[in-house]
């Protein structure tokens, strides 16, 4: 069965070199978590790129630092989930996100103290708590990280990982926070070498990427709990586009957010509800992140999803 040409896509395009290694790691990780009785959430994060040349010098990118995904991964872990974190290379990652995109170089946090290099007092306390959580996560094998660069590699990984996690049925969640390109240049139209300047304007024609959310919901993981995101810049479009996506794909929830206020307000759109989740000024001033509210709401909904399905069996 072909929907929007997605089967074709995985035939026409070349899989990433390490796809078998990712498959093996995902299966191992899932087996371990199942033995521990844990749920797993796949968190996708960061922007995807669309190369304009085979030997790529230029590409179209989507704005995303990976804040939403990397913060959410931490809160899922704190709530007992194991996380597969599928992220854009060099975008923010759980735990290290607190330091990596800062303009303050992490070398500024370090002092030479006789034979040791130590974190100086100014940063020590806050780093200690993050470091402890990070080490616990590693020790308990709660996080599997897989990185991508192009939208093509992202789709191959998404397809592979989703189909593996789907065997956990209702106990798997898919939190699709990556900013996925809507347009790409199909392989048969891609030029080999760097596009030369000096020959006037550059005309590009990009095709629409297949809407993989459709087969993900209906075929790859039909029993999973699936959360997608809708980012807009025009407030007039946000809710209607989010609702349209929910109807079109038939999954459980769309989280709508505006580019400029995405750290303060999100909208939960489900079949029978439309809810705004908002941060107070006080919460923001205290460094509380909206993802803590998002994740705790989602876990309640995931519980319901699991209970409902058990009741139906």
């Amino acid at each position: 069965m072909e929907i929007d040409g997605e089967d074709d896509y995985f035939v026409k395009n070349t899989p990433p070199k390490n796809i078998n290694e990712v498959e093996r790691k995902t299966k191992e990780f899932m087996k371990y978590q199942q033995e521990k009785g844990r749920r797993i959430v796949l968190v996708t994060s960061g922007g995807t790129t669309v190369p304009l040349e085979n030997q790529t010098v230029r590409f179209v990118d989507n704005f995303s630092a990976g804040t939403r995904g990397s913060a959410s991964a931490e809160y899922f872990i704190e709530n007992g989930y194991a996380v597969i974190f599928l992220y854009r290379q060099h975008s923010l990652r759980p735990y290290s996100r607190h330091y990596s995109h800062s303009k303050n170089c992490f070398l500024d946090m370090l002092d030479i103290d006789k034979d040791n290099i130590i974190v100086n007092d100014k940063y020590k306390e806050s780093m200690k708590s993050i470091l402890e959580r990070y080490k616990k996560t590693k020790a308990e094998n709660l996080l599997l990280e897989i990185d991508f660069f192009t939208v093509k590699d992202y789709f191959f990984y998404l397809n592979k990982i989703t189909k593996i996690l789907a065997t956990m049925e209702e106990k798997s969640m898919y939190y699709l926070a990556a900013a996925v390109s809507d347009f790409f240049i199909p392989p048969e139209r891609m030029v080999e070498h760097k596009i030369q300047s000096g020959e006037g304007a550059l005309k590009l024609s990009l095709d629409q990427v297949p809407k993989f959310l459709k087969p993900l919901v209906s075929e790859w993981a039909p029993k999973g709990f699936i959360v997608s995101f809708k980012l807009e810049t025009d407030p007039a479009l946000l809710i209607s586009k989010a609702r349209k996506a929910l109807k079109r794909y038939g999954h459980q929830i769309v989280i709508g957010n505006m580019l400029l206020t995405r750290k303060k307000v999100v909208h939960f759109i489900t079949n029978d509800e439309e809810r705004k989740i908002e941060m107070t000024e006080e919460e923001l001033n205290n460094g509380i992140e909206i993802e803590t509210k998002i994740i705790s709401e989602l876990i309640k909904k995931h519980d319901q999803w699991i209970n409902q399905s058990e009741a139906n069996n």
Copy 2:
């Protein structure tokens, strides 16, 4: 005098908000270095972006991690130069580059030891030497870092900084390693909101950016020592395009490099010479970087440039 519409560009486009602050910092930095009798090199680094919407969700980017620029800045500093480092946000920076784009999270390098957080023994020795050099650079005020994201902001900063440094005449060097976009969407054709999908293919038409190297060489810094780069993927084009650029702009040197071998081989193209600089397998295995050779060659040429001009006066 208008060359390729560059005066027009700075009128039609909006300057970055902090342009006055960058001007002030650059002047202060230059004054300090002049009192110390130091030369200054402007190093540009990383790729530039071209937004496709005013409220930017998508942009065209140029592949560049900033390896060349960030490594070169360190070697300039080791050789007594003060460096203004104009770099793409989140690309590699001098010193921190040894850790920041690594897949190994820097949190993996840290251990909790009673009341302290310390760097563990495995990383300590190599980090100590980098940290010492970093702290010396800061203490001696040898590095001014300024970051950009779009090609527009890059051009505004380049223009401003170059014109200030130009007052140092021959003692200033311009090492233009940033991967600058050749195409952009002019402000009058830019859409306000996120481009919507679902309406078929995306047709983009990008104009050529003005070739600012021309006024930089002939007007902004006519006595400076100017080094530009040419990156290609097709070996048949590299040398001819590099020589063409040298003729067209009339500056001192073009460094040509291929995308796939840029860490092993570069070509120095000057008016009377064409030289290949190459790394041996042994050098590469020992962790020696090609930038150490590039910089030591350039400093010799800069010496000659200064001596020659003094002889002419």
